[in-house]
């Protein structure tokens, strides 16, 4: 049976792993390659490396770091941040990334999704969506949740799928950093609309939150950062707990 995936997310700034609470107050938690290798060894199913400041500062991504990651890590990994054209993605893929994640640049230029899918296949293209609930309307935000756009969450997710996204990585900015659980209602609604896998992000605080996101939230993968970085939840403990709860998981 296809296993649900547990994905630690490593936010990278200046070559170091960081995790911000609601994307501010950044605090370093270590070397990304070292941390990634440790997570792989502990049973992480995939890794995501996001150059979180790339869009904001207009900085291009971190090809040399990706090469080091590709040499050391023996599980699939996604990289994102600052990918605004084909050649950015190409450099990361040839450096060894399995997938690229695009976010703000896809909102600004949706055709980028089509172009990446056409050039590299849909399985390479993860469309990350940060959204926030404004008075009952789920609005897509960019630049780390700082700027609301005119796009609505569900129609944008559908458009991304139609354009060739291979997966959606949905972060609820209302849940991110709260440790109060994932946005399960929105995730389930998205899962009933889309035929591509959905990675849930934002809000993980305990092991039951992962049970909920895979059952109520119907997610294919659960992503988290600080709870893993600060060792609040160990990946082996989490996976054995999910297994006990009847969630299909790779042990």
């Amino acid at each position: 049976m296809l296993a649900k995936r547990i994905i630690p997310c490593l936010d990278i700034k200046d070559g170091q792993t960081v995790k911000g609470i609601n994307f501010v107050n950044i605090k370093s938690v270590g070397d990304p390659v070292e941390l990634g290798a440790m997570y792989a060894e502990q049973g992480a199913d995939e890794l995501v490396f996001l150059d979180i400041t790339a869009t904001h500062e207009g900085r291009k991504t971190f090809v040399e770091l990706v090469k080091r990651i590709a040499r050391e890590i023996n599980i699939p990994f996604t990289v994102g941040g600052g990918i605004s054209e084909i050649k950015d993605a190409e450099a990361l893929l040839s450096a060894g990334a399995d997938k690229v994640s695009i976010n703000s640049s896809a909102v600004r230029n949706p055709k980028l999704i089509d172009d990446l899918a056409l050039n590299f296949g849909t399985q390479f293209v993860v469309v990350a969506i940060d959204a926030k609930n404004y008075d009952g309307h789920w609005t897509v935000t960019v630049n780390g949740g700082r700027i609301p756009t005119d796009k609505e969450l569900f129609s944008w997710a559908k458009e991304a799928e139609d354009r060739g996204a291979g997966e959606i990585l949905f972060t609820s900015m209302d849940h991110d950093g709260t440790k109060a659980g994932f946005a399960n209602d929105e995730l389930a609604r998205m899962a009933d609309m889309l035929k591509i896998p959905i990675i849930a992000s934002g809000g993980a605080g305990n092991m039951d939150h992962f049970v909920d996101v895979f059952t109520t939230g119907k997610a294919d993968a659960g992503l988290a950062a600080s709870i893993f970085h600060y060792k609040e939840i160990g990946i082996p403990d989490l996976k054995s707990y999910l297994n006990q709860k009847g969630i299909p998981i790779r042990l």
Binding site: M1, L2, A3, R5, A40, D45, A70, R71, E72, N74, I75, P76, L93, S94, G96, D98, F120, G121, T122, Q123, F124, G166, E167, A191, D192, M193, L194, K195, I196, P197, D220, A221, R250
Partner: protein, 199 residues
């Protein structure tokens, strides 16, 4: 050991090379016929689309060379599919090393939102029947990313199950192939690559 990875217009060849380096093997990535023929072992990896990749193999004469090889050859992912007789992807006649055919996963009616295509992620392999595997690998998880699969047939060396049973690995004579990515399958994948190297 002289191990060659066949270079062609397919993605992510470097990740196979990285996996071999982690096992202490330095491989050469080349499309040179003489070097491929002279190698002790050959790996034919690939991520891409069947018809454009077959067209490239033909242009380079690799469509004749690969089936003629007599040393152990390991196809990976698209490599496995191209080693079959025919792929539905672009209605493409392939290399014909294995008689099995390549079909597209069809989600079960009414289950389109549960049985998603591509089949992506970690899934188990069973019914192991090749020197690539040992008993300890039965029911272990490996990493798959594919929308097309080889049918189960005479040369099936491992069975995967997603929507329907399919060939997770094939073996015939000196030709081996895996639909999954051993280079991305953690310690289980590393063991399978090691078993290939030891052949």
């Amino acid at each position: 050991m002289n191990l060659v990875i066949i270079k062609y217009n397919a993605g992510n060849i470097e990740s196979v090379n990285n996996a071999l380096q982690r096992l202490g093997i330095s491989a050469e990535i080349t499309g040179d016929h003489e070097k491929i023929k002279a190698a002790d072992k050959v790996i034919f990896p690939g991520v891409g689309e069947a018809s454009t990749t077959m067209a490239y193999l033909k242009k380079e004469g690799l469509d004749k060379l690969i089936p003629s090889l007599s040393q152990p050859v390991l196809g990976i992912c698209l490599g496995l599919q191209l080693m079959c007789s025919h792929s539905e992807e672009g209605d493409t006649p392939c290399l014909g090393i294995f008689e099995e055919k390549v079909k597209r996963f069809q989600p079960e009616p009414g289950m389109e939102f549960v049985t998603k295509v591509p089949h992506m992620g970690w899934n188990t392999i069973t019914n192991l029947n090749s020197a690539l595997f040992d008993e300890s690998l039965n029911e272990q998880f490996v990493y798959f990313v594919h929308s097309y699969y080889a049918t189960v047939g005479e040369h099936t060396a491992a069975v995967g199950n997603y929507i329907n049973p399919f060939s997770a690995a094939l073996h015939k004579d000196n030709f081996y192939a895996t639909q999954f990515h051993p280079e991305k399958s953690g310690p289980v994948g590393a063991k399978i690559l090691e078993n290939f190297i030891k052949l």
